[in-house]
């Protein structure tokens, strides 16, 4: 793998995990009776940007390197399911994340402190953020399985 690709992959992993943490923070922040609007705005926007960067960098690695170099190694090993199930599911479910993150950002940035006056609505926004968090965790775990399968 070229140096630039390995840098891209490292940034993809770090920034993806950062996005997961930020949406975890957004979900918890929205559970509070009185929300911290500033924190929620920065966390959600940071999470969206993280997911978008992870999407572009991970996508570049997947298209340029994974299919021709990593996939054959996994397919030739004992853990073929790591590609056929985990990677196949990961690459497609990953595409859901920016949309969920975007809705979360738009809701928080447009309504701001008004969310405190609409507790049921706030809970609904929390569920969307929670979804961006849960799916983000699944994607990160899938990445660990695939890396493991490629090195075994």
């Amino acid at each position: 793998m070229s140096t630039s690709l390995s840098i891209f992959l490292t940034i993809h992993v770090i920034i993806g995990v950062l996005g997961v943490f930020l949406f975890g923070g957004v979900s918890l922040g929205l559970l509070k009776k009185k929300i911290s609007v500033k924190m929620l705005k920065y966390f959600s926007l940071g999470g969206l940007i993280s997911y978008l960067i992870a999407w572009v960098l991970g996508g570049h690695y997947y298209i340029v390197h994974y299919g021709s170099k990593v996939k054959p190694i996994i397919k030739a090993g004992d853990m073929t399911w790591a590609h056929s199930i985990v990677m196949e599911a990961k690459e497609h479910i990953f595409l859901f994340l920016p949309f969920l993150a975007f809705v979360s950002v738009v809701s928080i940035w447009t309504l701001g402190s008004s969310l405190d006056e609409m507790p049921k609505f706030k809970k609904a926004v929390m569920l969307v953020s929670l979804s961006a968090f849960i799916i983000g965790i699944l994607i990160a775990l899938a990445g660990i399985v695939i890396s493991g399968a490629a090195t075994i």
Partner: protein
């Protein structure tokens, strides 16, 4: 003012639901329909890029169309409707995730 904001949120929420449903459908359909997968590869250089680009296009088309249509909508119960749309997005995203994972498990086991 609040009503306008809620309508914008509703438009993006429904657009996200449409994009996630499309991605789930396209993911499964492209495994069974080779011409569709080949078209994605030919048009976008990679089937994964094709699905992503089409999902983004669907997202903006649905968001704009819904927002234009919502301008004429009656403001009553907008809050409740948008809240329901957000909850639907949560449910759709979780179900779509399970469907995609389940599909690839069954596909690997050659059941599908």
């Amino acid at each position: 003012m609040l009503e306008k904001k809620l309508k914008i949120i509703a438009s993006f929420t429904l657009a996200s639901i449409a994009s996630i449903l499309f991605l789930t459908f396209a993911t499964i359909y492209s495994e069974f329909n080779k011409p569709f997968k080949d078209w994605l590869v030919l048009t976008f250089n990679h089937h994964w890029v094709g699905k992503g680009v089409l999902a983004v296009v669907i997202f903006f088309v649905v968001a704009i169309l819904h927002w234009l249509a919502s301008l004429k909508m009656h403001p009553i119960a907008v809050d409740t409707k948008v809240r329901r749309a957000l909850i639907s997005l949560f449910i759709v995203s979780i179900l779509a995730t399970l469907v995609v994972i389940g599909f690839f498990i069954l596909h690997f086991m050659k059941i599908f």
